[in-house]
C-alpha cells in the first residue's frame, strides 16, 4: 500500500492520504483530479482499470464524490478517491467519463441527486427524475414538500435538449447547449411500456433504414428513491429494499447489505447461517438464469422454451416458499444470520432439484441452444470486446461472455465461497450467444456448489447471539461487494454513529449494463435491439432503485 502512496504522491504532490479505513483513501483537489485519474488508469505500476463505484456525497459543509477504483492486474486491489467540489453553492467537478466510460451514466446520476455538474461531461442531463424536477433529492437540505413537485400528468418537454459545461482558459465555466439527436435523424421510440424491455426502460433509437445508429437510454420510470428512504430508517428496516431492487437476485443483494453491516459491526456470522446463505444465493442464481433463459427465448418468439424454463423455476420457488414463506421478496437474510431455520424438507427438495437439473439442461440445449434461428439471432450480435467490458465495468455473465474473469466469488471471496470448488465460466465469443452460454453453464456450476453443501450443513445457531438490539454502526464508511445474478453488486454505507445510516449507495450491476447498450447496438438491426437487451439481461428496478 505504501508503494501506491509514493507513486500517487509522485504524480500529484497535492494529494493527501487517509489510512485506517478499509482501503487507502486519496483526497485530491478537483483541479488535479482528471490528470491523476488518467495516470491511475494508464500507469503500469497502478493500473486501476475498473471504476467500481461512484458515490455522490453531501457532507453538509461540502459536496463531493467518492470514486472506488479497482486494479484487475494488481490482485483486485481497491482504493478510494475523494474529490470535493470547490464551491458548494455552485458545485462543479471535472468529469472522468472520458477515462472510464462507465462514469458517463454514474456522473449523470450524481448530478441528478446532488446537483454537482461535471465539467466536460458530454451529456449532462438528469438520469432518473423528470427534466422539470425542482431540487436535488439526496442533498441533506432538500425540500420534500409535495407542492413543489406534484404528480404531473403532462409529458416532459424538450427531451432532446442536453448540455455540457466547458472551462475556458481563465477557469470560467460556460454552459454549452446541445441536442441528443440531430434534426435529420429518424428516431424510433421504444418503451417505456414494452414487454421486451424487461421492465420499463425507454430506448429512443435513431435508425438508418433498419440499422441502429444510436440508442439513447432513458431511465427513471421506476425510480423509487430507495437511497433517500434508507436515510430515514434504521439498519434492520432498510434490508427489505434490497429484495425489491433486483428481485431476481433478492438473496444475493440482501446478503451483500447484511455483510456490509456485519463488517462495520465486527459481527461473526455462525457457520450454519453462512452455509444456508450461500445455498440460497445459488438457488436464486439458478432461478434467475432460468428466467433469463425463458425470456431470451420468448423475446425471440420461442414461447415453448419459456414454459420449460418456468417449470424448473417453480421447483426452486417451492424450496424458497417452504423455508422463507414467500415465492418472491423472501426477506430471509437478517443482520447476523438468517431469520428462520431451514424447512425439514429443504435438503430433500434441493437434492430432488439437483437430480433433475442435468437432464433438464440437456433438454434446453436440445430445444433452444441448437436451434438454427436462435443461433442466427444470437451469434455475432451485440459485440462487446474485453477492453470495453472492463472500461464500462460490465461484470457478471455479460462480462464473462467477453472473456473477462470478474467473478466476485473468486476475486474477493466472501462467506464460505473460498472453500468451495467451482469453475468460473468464461466464453470468448463476446456476443449475445456467449452471454447466453455463460448463464447456462453457470447453472451447472451453481448445482455443483449446492452438491458440495447440501450434505454438509453444519449444526449450530442460525443467527449470531451478540447482535445488538438497536443497531448503531461506528462512524466511518464501508463498501461490500457480492456476485449477484447479473454481476457485481456493491453496497456503500456511511455512518455518523446514529441508528440511521448517513448515506447508503447501491452499486447495481444492471446500471452499468444499460451504459453499454448504445455501444453494443450500433450497426446492428433494430430487431437485434431486443436480443441484445435480452442477452445482457438487465432488470430495470435494479437500475433505477
Amino acid at each position: 500500500m505504501s508503494d501506491i502512496k509514493e507513486i500517487i504522491s509522485g504524480i500529484c504532490p497535492e494529494a493527501t492520504f487517509v489510512e485506517g479505513g478499509e482501503q487507502l483513501q486519496v483526497i485530491v483537489p478537483d483541479a488535479k483530479w482528471h490528470d491523476l485519474a488518467l495516470q491511475l488508469r494508464d500507469d503500469r505500476r497502478l493500473n486501476f482499470d475498473v471504476l467500481t463505484a461512484v458515490v455522490g456525497m453531501d457532507w453538509k459543509d461540502s459536496l463531493g464524490v467518492i470514486y472506488y477504483l479497482t486494479s484487475t492486474s494488481n490482485n483486485w486491489d481497491m482504493i478510494q478517491v475523494k474529490v470535493t467540489a470547490p464551491d458548494m453553492k455552485d458545485p462543479y467537478i471535472h468529469t472522468v467519463s472520458d477515462i472510464w466510460k462507465v462514469a458517463n451514466f454514474q456522473e449523470r446520476e450524481v448530478y441528478d441527486f446532488f446537483g454537482i455538474r461535471f465539467i466536460n461531461h458530454p451529456d449532462m442531463r438528469r438520469m432518473f427524475l423528470r427534466n422539470d424536477w425542482k431540487g436535488h433529492p439526496l442533498r441533506k437540505d432538500y425540500d420534500a414538500d409535495p407542492a413543489k413537485n406534484p404528480i404531473r400528468l403532462d409529458d416532459e418537454v424538450n427531451e432532446d435538449d442536453t448540455c455540457s459545461y466547458v472551462e475556458d482558459g481563465n477557469g470560467k465555466i460556460k454552459k454549452v447547449p446541445g441536442k441528443v439527436f440531430n434534426e435529420d435523424e429518424y428516431v424510433v421510440n421504444f418503451g417505456p411500456q414494452h414487454p421486451s424491455t424487461h421492465g420499463v426502460m425507454r430506448m429512443r433509437t435513431s435508425v438508418d433504414g433498419e440499422t441502429i445508429k444510436k440508442v439513447d437510454m432513458m431511465s427513471g420510470y421506476i425510480h423509487r428513491g430507495i437511497e433517500k428512504l434508507c436515510e430515514g430508517l434504521g439498519y434492520p428496516q432498510i434490508l427489505h429494499f434490497t429484495d425489491r431492487m433486483d428481485y431476481m437476485s433478492a438473496h444475493q443483494n440482501r446478503h451483500c447489505l447484511c455483510l456490509c453491516i456485519e463488517k462495520a459491526l465486527g459481527l461473526e456470522v455462525p457457520r450454519r447461517a453462512q452455509v444456508i446463505r450461500v445455498m440460497m444465493d445459488e438457488l436464486m442464481r439458478i432461478s434467475s438464469h432460468l428466467l433469463a433463459f425463458g425470456c431470451t427465448a420468448m423475446d425471440l418468439g420461442a414461447t415453448t422454451a419459456f414454459f420449460y424454463g418456468f417449470r424448473e423455476r417453480e421447483q426452486v420457488l417451492d424450496i424458497f416458499e417452504k423455508t422463507c414463506g414467500a415465492r418472491m421478496s423472501m426477506n430471509y437474510n437478517v443482520i447476523g444470520g438468517v431469520i428462520a431455520d431451514i424447512h425439514p424438507d429443504f435438503v430433500k427438495d434441493v437434492k430432488a432439484l439437483l437430480a433433475i437439473m442435468p437432464e433438464r439442461l440437456k433438454e434446453y440445449h436440445k430445444l433452444f441452444t441448437g436451434n438454427v434461428i436462435a443461433r442466427n439471432r444470437l451469434e455475432k450480435v451485440g459485440h462487446l470486446s474485453k477492453e470495453d467490458a472492463i472500461n464500462y465495468a460490465i461484470t457478471g455473465p455479460s462480462g464473462r461472455g467477453s472473456n473477462w474473469s470478474c467473478d466476485c466469488r473468486k476475486v474477493h471471496p466472501y462467506s464460505v465461497y473460498g472453500e468451495l470448488q467451482f469453475e468460473e465460466c468464461l466464453e470468448t465469443g463476446c456476443d449475445s450467444f456467449a452471454r447466453y452460454m455463460v448463464r447456462m453453464r453457470e447453472i451447472e456450476q451453481s448445482c455443483r456448489i449446492l452438491e458440495q453443501l447440501v450434505d454438509n450443513i453444519p449444526e449450530g445457531d442460525i443467527r449470531a447471539l451478540n447482535v445488538p438490539k438497536v443497531v448503531k454502526l461506528p462512524v466511518g464508511h464501508w463498501y461490500q461487494q457480492v456476485e449477484a445474478s447479473r454481476g457485481t453488486f456493491g453496497v456503500f454505507i456511511e455512518s455518523d454513529g446514529t441508528k440511521n445510516p448517513y448515506r447508503v449507495h447501491f452499486q447495481s450491476p444492471c446500471f452499468n449494463l444499460i451504459g453499454v447498450m448504445d455501444l453494443c447496438c450500433q450497426g446492428y438491426m433494430i430487431a437485434d435491439l431486443i436480443t441484445i437487451g435480452a442477452a445482457l439481461d438487465f432488470v430495470i428496478p435494479d437500475i433505477d432503485r
Binding site: F128, L129, R130, W133, P137, Y142, A144, N149, I151, R152, L153, D154, D155, E156, P192, Q193, H194, P195, G199, V200, G220, Y221, I222, H223, R224, G225, I226, K228, L229, G232, H240, F241, R244, Y247, M248, L291, F306, F307, F310, R311, R313, E314, L317, R327, M328, S329, I540, P541
Partner: protein
C-alpha cells in the same frame, strides 16, 4: 340475485353480501327482459375473455409471468392473451410501483384503452405506494391517477391471489349494465374539458 362465475363456487368468495347488495341496488328499478338478457349475454362474453394490458414495472410482473406459465395457467379462465397494445386490451393490470415520471404514460395508456375498460392494482405499490409510500417521487397508489376496479394486496401477491382478484373483476363485470349508460363512458366534450391541451392535436 347471486353472481355466478364458472371458475369458483359462490360460497368460496368472501364478500358475497356486498356484491349481492350491489346487485340489488342496481336492479332496484327492475330490468327490461330483452335488455337484461342481452346484457347477460354480453357480460358473459366479456367476463370470460378478459385480455390484460400488462403494465408490469417490477416484481409483480414476474409473478404474472408465472401465471402465464404451465403450472398456474391462466388460460383456464380466459385471461391468457396478454396484450401489449391498449387498443386490444380490456383492462390494465398495474403491476408495480408507479412513479412521477411514469404517471403521464400510465394515464395516456388508460385513455387509449377502448370502452368498457377496467383497472386492477396488483401489489402493495400499486395499491398504496407500498414500502415506498414516503418517497419523493412515488405515486402513493395508482388510484390517485386512475379509477381502480379491483385491488390485489401482496408484495408480490401469490398467483392464487391474482386469480382471486381476476375473478372479482369477472364478478364485477357480470353485474354491469352494458346498455343504458351505466358504464363509465367519457363523452368527447367532457374529455376535452378535462384535457384542453389535447384539443389541438386530436380535433
Amino acid at each position: 340475485m347471486e353472481v355466478k362465475i364458472k371458475s369458483m363456487k359462490h360460497e368460496d368468495f368472501k364478500d358475497n353480501e356486498y356484491i349481492d347488495k350491489l346487485v340489488e341496488e342496481l336492479n332496484a328499478s327492475g330490468a327490461n327482459v330483452a335488455v337484461g338478457n342481452l346484457n347477460k349475454l354480453i357480460n358473459w362474453g366479456i367476463s370470460n375473455s378478459l385480455w390484460p394490458l400488462c403494465f408490469g414495472t417490477s416484481c409483480c410482473a414476474i409473478e404474472f409471468m408465472s401465471l402465464g406459465a404451465a403450472r398456474y395457467d391462466m388460460a383456464r379462465f380466459g385471461f391468457e392473451v396478454a396484450r401489449n397494445s391498449p387498443r386490444q386490451a380490456d383492462y390494465i393490470m398495474v403491476q408495480g410501483t408507479i412513479v412521477h415520471r411514469m404517471a403521464p404514460a400510465m394515464r395516456r395508456l388508460y385513455e387509449q384503452l377502448a370502452e368498457p375498460k377496467y383497472v386492477i392494482a396488483c401489489g402493495g405499490c400499486a395499491v398504496s405506494g407500498g414500502p415506498f409510500k414516503n418517497s419523493y417521487c412515488v405515486v402513493p397508489g395508482v388510484d390517485k391517477i386512475l379509477p381502480v376496479d379491483v385491488y390485489i394486496p401482496g408484495c408480490p401477491p401469490r398467483p392464487e391471489a391474482f386469480f382471486y382478484g381476476l375473478m372479482q373483476l369477472q364478478r364485477k363485470i357480470k353485474v354491469q349494465k352494458f346498455f343504458g349508460g351505466v358504464n363509465r363512458k367519457e363523452k368527447r366534450e367532457e374529455f376535452f374539458a378535462a384535457h384542453p391541451e389535447e384539443r389541438g392535436q386530436l380535433s
